[in-house]
């Protein structure tokens, strides 16, 4: 029960000056308090439709983007040295990603086509084998009937 209170109270903290070099030297209570403060002040998400609202308000070409699907969902972080260069790089990556997706889609389609062709071929072979066996069985039966003197079986 005393835990949460400890970090908020300290005689030392009250008298501590943040003057120049002493900025980082604090008592344990102050450090605990600052950690709590940091946790309390974590960034929060903007409202879900924030981007759409901004684009609508921006008008013109930006507003038109509202109707198009989102290219990215916070995957492309602008953390590179040159923001403008990173925009260009993002476009390259976007196209490269699109091309890769297209190749994968073609590959999947071709694979599926080949698999179906093979299945069809196997089914044909099985059908031909079954027909052959059936013909042989029929011929054998006829042979036996002929030997038994039964007429009119052709």
């Amino acid at each position: 029960v005393n835990g949460p209170n400890d970090m908020f109270e300290s005689e030392n903290f009250e008298s501590k000056e943040f003057a120049s070099d002493e900025f980082e030297s604090k008592d344990a209570g102050a450090e605990a308090f600052e950690r709590s403060l940091k946790d309390a002040l974590r960034r929060v998400d903007a409202p879900p439709d924030f981007t759409l609202q901004v684009l609508k308000k921006a008008g013109g070409a930006a507003a038109q983007l509202v109707e198009t699907p989102t290219e990215t969902q916070a995957v492309w972080k602008l953390e590179r040295p040159k923001a403008r260069a990173s925009f260009a790089w993002m476009h390259v990556r976007w196209w490269a990603g699109g091309a890769l997706a297209a190749v994968l889609a073609i590959g999947v389609f071709a694979g599926e086509h080949i698999r179906r062709e093979r299945e069809r071929e196997v089914a044909n072979q099985q059908f031909e084998a079954a027909t052959q066996i059936e013909n042989q069985a029929l011929e054998h039966a006829r042979e036996q009937l002929r030997e038994a003197g039964v007429q009119g079986i052709e």
Binding site: V1, N5, F8, A40, L41, A46, P47, F50, T72, R80
Partner: protein
Amino acid sequence: MPFEASEFRLCVESHQKMVFSLALRVTGEYGVAEEVAQDVFLELYRSGGEKLESADHMRFWLRRVTVHRATDALRRRAHSPEALGEEWNEADSPSSGLASAPMSLSAEARLEELLVSLPEQMRVVVVLRYQEDMLPDEIATLLGQPVATVKSNLQRGLQLLRRKAAVVMKEYVRERA
């Protein structure tokens, strides 16, 4: 328009969390923060972003404009909590205003609420220091203030916040006992 629409959207998506959080902690109101954050991005779009040479530069610009717009919004509000500022003392009832929040709130949530009761300058510095993890000299550059002023505001803000938190936490402990 030098700022392409698709670039702008990427920028909004990348920085909305930072801008909105900053606006929220400075204004203390969700709706106002949303409005401020939108205005900041619209200002960026209209400016074309031509002078922004790097991601760091853009972040710096967004932070600075957000702080300015958020403090403008604060000043426009009639019921500014400024009065609670440094005159606040432990004798003040924690059962009034922000401290009257439900006892089920976590310590972090209580701290966040108490932050809103800090005077504007202290609050801004505390938010930049602890939300954005900026050093005092970076904050000084951003706000265009001397480093000593920033440190002073930070120190006084922390002291005040800690005193308030101590009172609220005592109340919390008493309620639970």
